[in-house]
Amino acid sequence: MSFRTRWRKFVNVFMLSLTGLCALVTVSVLFFILGYLLWYGGRSLNWAFFTHLPTPVGETGGGMANAIVGSGKLLLLASLVGVPVGILGGVYLAEFGGQTFSFVVRYTTDLLNGVPSIVMGIFAYTIIVLPMRHFSALAGGLALGVMMIPIAVRTTEESLRSVPGTLREGALALGTSKWKTVATVVMPAAMRGIVTGVMLTLARVAGETAPLLFTAFSNRFWSSGWNQPIASLPVMIYTYAIAPYDDWHRQAWAAGLVLLALVLVANIGARLVVSRGISFGKA
């Protein structure tokens, strides 16, 4: 074996091991965080947590029932806004867009993604809460929804682009109109990537506190409808985590765990529904 071949073989093993190391490092750190959350939060979970309203300090048996439902409601509204706009926007960029306008849209999307969550909250406050003169679940949901858009757009676009051109060309050659091609051929092929993107953006938005502080506010009681302030898990975590009381700290960790579980359930649900997604990469 020549020196060059031996060198290439060495580089091969070395670099591949390096990637394995990268994976190990990142996975260990992330799994450690998860484990810590599971352990610390899990200890504080009990039935009362899921069914009771918050109680003041010193009283046991308090829970975050209203915050759990509240987060669910807010994320639902956010998805109704963010997912369609995000996916459709991504479809535009990948399938229909012209050169310059697409560039502008892409650029703007990246800018929107970089807006700090508190600035988004301030923005939603000035255009929704102030005119309405009260805090509401509507304002919170919309703020979160707008934050969902950029990631959804970019990941949808990338997933659609990853679909080989041959697929599109085949469908078009068969006489299918463009929109039908996109809807029935390209999108299903890219579905797994799109769902990944939607789940990623939902996960990101689920943990956001700052945009909710000035829009959804929070509520110690049950809120009805969309026009009242509403409790949410991230805000409760934030309020409890920086308070002086141990009981509240434990509740904060428990809430963090529940939040993660909420996102997990949504994730699994979405993937199951789309589990017929076909991947052409590793056929």
Binding site: V11, N12, M15, L16, A23, V25, T26, L30, I33, L34, P84, V85, L88, G89, V91, Y92, V105, Y107, D110, L111, L112, N113, G114, V115, P116, I118, V119, M120, I122, P150, I151, V153, R154, T155, E158, R161, S162, V163, K178, W179, K180, V182, T196, L200, L202, A203, R204, T209, A210, L233, I237, Y238, A241, G256, L259, L260, N267, S279, F280, G281
Partner: protein, 327 residues
Amino acid sequence: MASAPTTVDHVRPPGRTWEFIKRLRGGDEVAHLITLLAAASIIVVTVMLVYQLYVNSALPRHKFGFSFFLGKTWDPVSGEFGALPFIFGTVASSALALLVAVPLGVGAAIFLSELAPPRISNVTTFVIELLAAVPSVIYGLLGIFILVPVLRIVVMPFLKTTLGFLPLFKGPIYGVSMLAGGLVLAIMIVPFIISVSREVLMAVPVEQREAALGLGATKWESTWQVVVPFARVGIMASIFLALARALGETMAVTMVIGNDPRINASLFAPAYSIAAVIANEFTEATGDLYLEALIELGLVLFLLTILINGLARLVIIATTQKGAAQG
């Protein structure tokens, strides 16, 4: 204009309107319109956002003008506001975060897409994506209770003894520092890089890999010289997503970065970022000038993002080869 008798089923009036409606019924125009509206709404929202930021920062803009960008003092009591320390903190911490997260993330993504058995790869990625949902506050708490002590007791002294001659590693060791801020950010953004990069890598057609291997390339050579360049644009997109999150991240950063608005070459020194100061001071800011100065900082961050994005895109354009990436 006479219609060809053999192809027309019924009489229709000539004209461009009818042609448009006909195309509309075909569906393509509708689809184009709907998706166009969705894309346009993004621009509309962003423009509204910038407008609000601009209008609501009128006081400090008139008072300080351009010197806001260069001012080094942030004093709410005397009413003197300057953005430079925060600009420095934001740029430096995000750069550090990318420096750590990109190699780790792309490396891990390569491993997960090319080498790992599919089941392990799927489960691992699933869990990693889930971590994007962990609230920033919790990252912050973990940062201050675990990362900072580790840095203070183990990592920083080690760096100081080995590389202490570099200006990067000089100065007293507190634990909370630019380094801690950059590392926490790196941990927070790595799920985005791994998740999206892995998706695009897996979408690269098998034929590409096989062609390279068929020509005698090693697995690494096939991956690094064929597959990754093919997925280059998608990987870049994931880096942009990650960068955006790093620039705007507030809670976790503020709990580990030391919150000292000073510019320092050392990674051990505390720092302050734009998003962190806005989050910290907005709820307690009394007085219009103070409040609007914070909003102006939001505007500055926006401009920073425009600049950094623009630079990054130039870099991509300069290095993209023809045929290496799709689109």
